[in-house]
């Protein structure tokens, strides 16, 4: 038996308290993992959608903070931007969250300019892309098809109008997989926003360097008041929903950490109060005070690490479950990274040390003769 084995034994001999402490910590850690992974996933998914489309820059309304910026009339602006150096394509995009069919959860409906480069990254699983700009044809992301229980050749009703499903596709981005895609003209018609887009996607030629991108941004800022040119990453980070979800996950992390540390603190304080005589005995046997500190802190770290590990597993399960809730499917995805999970374990160790340090120091300061007399 060594110090660590003794610490484990001390936790094992109080199974109810140890289990409850681990459960409390794991719930806190699970909420951190689930919320953070979804906040990151939300950001990553929109970023991936923009990247997959091959967009180099996005022009949008300066003050818009929505997930999809407020619509604006595009024609004149589009023509101006096409005249900028190195610009290959300027493509309008309109998006709306709409109910599709009866009793189905709302889905993203994207309107993309017919035959623009935006369509090129879609991998068709079945059927075809819309054949022209005006027929009431749509394509569905694979998740949307699953959610709506539709296949190629079926029709769906959107905003009181029937649409024929021409194809089903796969995209690298969950938000697209869970979406309906139609031509921009149709999207403008059904949302009653003729000539309007949320963003203009700019594709530059192969010779465009970083300085070209910077020049483009500067030129938009200086010559097109009220508009802004940004990269897709900047657009996502500017997104109010992304910022709110990140703020929520940060707040959850802070609150869960404080609660976790308090739970460990309370458990260890109760534990040493119950074990006063035992600690007195160990001191009488010649245990040095730092060994007592190591023992108590080891116990608290083991508790919080176990809670951290369990919390990570529960958090992954919760986030995975949320991804499959019908209302959320195709709109959120959880992103887990190994550095994040390691950081969570690191946070668990910090919680253990923070929660266990005061009880440990209190135990180490006991006078052995008094502690041995305690009933």
């Amino acid at each position: 038996m060594n110090l660590f084995g003794f610490a484990l034994g001390n936790l094992y001999r109080r199974p109810a308290r140890s289990s409850l402490t681990i459960a409390a910590i794991s719930l806190g850690v699970a909420s951190i993992v689930a919320l953070t992974s979804i906040a990151w996933g939300f950001e990553a998914s929109w970023q991936r959608a923009n990247d997959a489309r091959g967009t180099d820059l996005i022009v949008t309304r300066l003050a818009s903070e929505n997930a999809m910026p407020s619509p604006f009339l595009a024609d004149k602006l589009q023509a101006t931007l096409k005249g900028y150096p190195h610009v290959q394509e300027v493509v309008g995009l309109l998006s709306e969250m709409l109910s599709v069919g009866d009793n189905a959860p709302p889905v993203f409906v994207f309107g993309w300019e017919y035959r623009s480069y935006l369509w090129q990254h879609l991998r068709l699983i079945d059927g075809h892309l819309p054949a022209n700009d005006t027929d009431a044809d749509i394509v569905l992301g694979s998740l949307a098809a699953e959610l709506l229980h539709k296949k190629v050749g079926d029709s769906v009703e959107i905003e009181g109008r029937q649409f024929l499903i021409r194809g089903i596709f796969d995209s690298p981005a969950v938000v697209e997989n869970g979406a309906v895609v139609m031509t921009l003209t149709l999207a403008q018609q059904i949302t009653d926003k003729p000539g309007k887009v949320n963003i203009l996607n700019i594709k530059l030629d192969d010779h465009a360097s970083d300085s070209v991108i910077d020049d483009f941004k500067t030129r938009v800022r200086e010559t097109l008041p009220g508009y802004l040119a940004i990269t897709s990453g900047e657009l996502v980070r500017k997104n109010a929903v992304v910022r709110i979800s990140k703020a929520m996950s940060n707040a959850t992390t802070l609150i869960a950490s404080l609660v976790g540390a308090l739970v460990v603190f309370n458990t260890m304080l109760m534990s040493i109060n119950e074990r006063t005589r035992e600690i007195g005995l160990l001191l009488a046997l010649g245990w040095q005070r730092q060994t007592i500190v190591k023992l108590i802190v080891s116990e608290s770290v083991v508790l919080s690490l176990a809670g951290g590990l369990a919390g990570i597993l529960i958090g992954i399960a919760i986030a995975g479950g949320l991804e499959h809730v019908e209302l959320m499917r195709g709109k959120i995805e959880a992103v887990f990274s190994m550095p994040f999970l390691i950081a969570i374990l690191g946070l668990s160790v910090v919680l253990g040390v923070a929660g266990g340090l005061y009880p440990a120091l209190k135990a180490a300061r006991m006078l052995p003769s008094q502690a041995l007399r305690q009933e």
């Binding site: 038996m1 060594n2 110090l3 003794f6 034994g9 001390n10 001999r13 005589r277 035992e278 005995l281 160990l282 001191l283 009488a284 046997l285 010649g286 245990w287 040095q288 005070r289 060994t291 006078l367 052995p368 003769s369 041995l372």
Partner: protein, 223 residues
């Protein structure tokens, strides 16, 4: 080995006096019994010798080293003293073996060697078959022998025993006293025992009688 010079020990801001100007010595290899009525300061004196209590005034020397100069009392205890208590103070959730090994945690050397030594000690004390048993399944005499093994595991120079037979029946008392005598003969360890039991004090080299925090003059005798 131990020299106590004019030691006083007060509690509650001086309202309670446990020791009142005690001076005494313990020689190398000597077995000293401290006797006296309850509350006379016997256990307090043992605690002061064992560095579990700091005297309010006076000084204690161990092999000429003053206690007031000891930087780490825990380490000093581990290096020089072994404690035996009336109520055994075994940890109920540890086996007999682990109750002995627990005293070696934090000591230099591999844990494997400490465990081996604990096994040997328990075997020497007649507990070879009880090594994996827990205190609740052992008799009082067996528990006290485990406590003796724990006191011996770090090779102390001085055993400090507080009523070691106080919770034992006559058979167990005889067993434990036999063990203590054997240890003394084999290892030459000094022993200071606080006791009410004439059986125990009868085996000591010297008996010191205490009353009201003082050594009773004229009542210290050699046997």
């Amino acid at each position: 080995m131990v020299r106590i010079e004019n030691v006083a020990l007060h509690f509650d801001d001086g309202k309670t006096t446990a020791l009142n100007g005690i001076s005494a010595t313990v020689e190398e290899g000597e077995f000293v019994a401290i006797v006296g009525p309850s509350g006379c300061g016997k256990s307090s004196l043992l605690n002061v010798i064992g560095t579990l209590e700091r005297p309010t005034t006076g000084e204690v020397y161990f092999r000429c080293q003053p206690y007031s100069n000891i930087a780490d009392a825990s380490l000093f205890r581990r290096q020089h003293f072994g404690f035996i208590f009336q109520s055994f103070h075994l940890i109920p959730t540890l086996s007999a073996l682990d109750n002995v090994v627990v005293a070696t945690i934090g000591c230099p050397g591999p844990a494997r060697e400490h465990t081996q030594r604990a096994r040997q000690l328990l075997a020497q004390l007649g507990l070879r078959d009880r090594i994996d048993h827990f205190p609740r399944t052992m008799s009082g005499g067996e528990r006290q022998r485990v406590a003796i093994a724990r006191a011996l595991i770090n090779n102390p120079d001085l055993i400090l025993a507080d009523e070691p037979t106080g919770s034992l029946d006559s058979v167990s008392t005889e067993q434990v006293l036999g063990v203590i005598s054997e240890i003394r003969q084999q290892r030459g360890i000094s022993i200071v025992v606080v006791t009410h039991d004439p059986e125990v004090s009868g085996r000591a080299d010297r008996v010191v009688s205490m009353r009201d925090g003082k050594i009773e003059p004229g009542k210290e005798y050699r046997q």
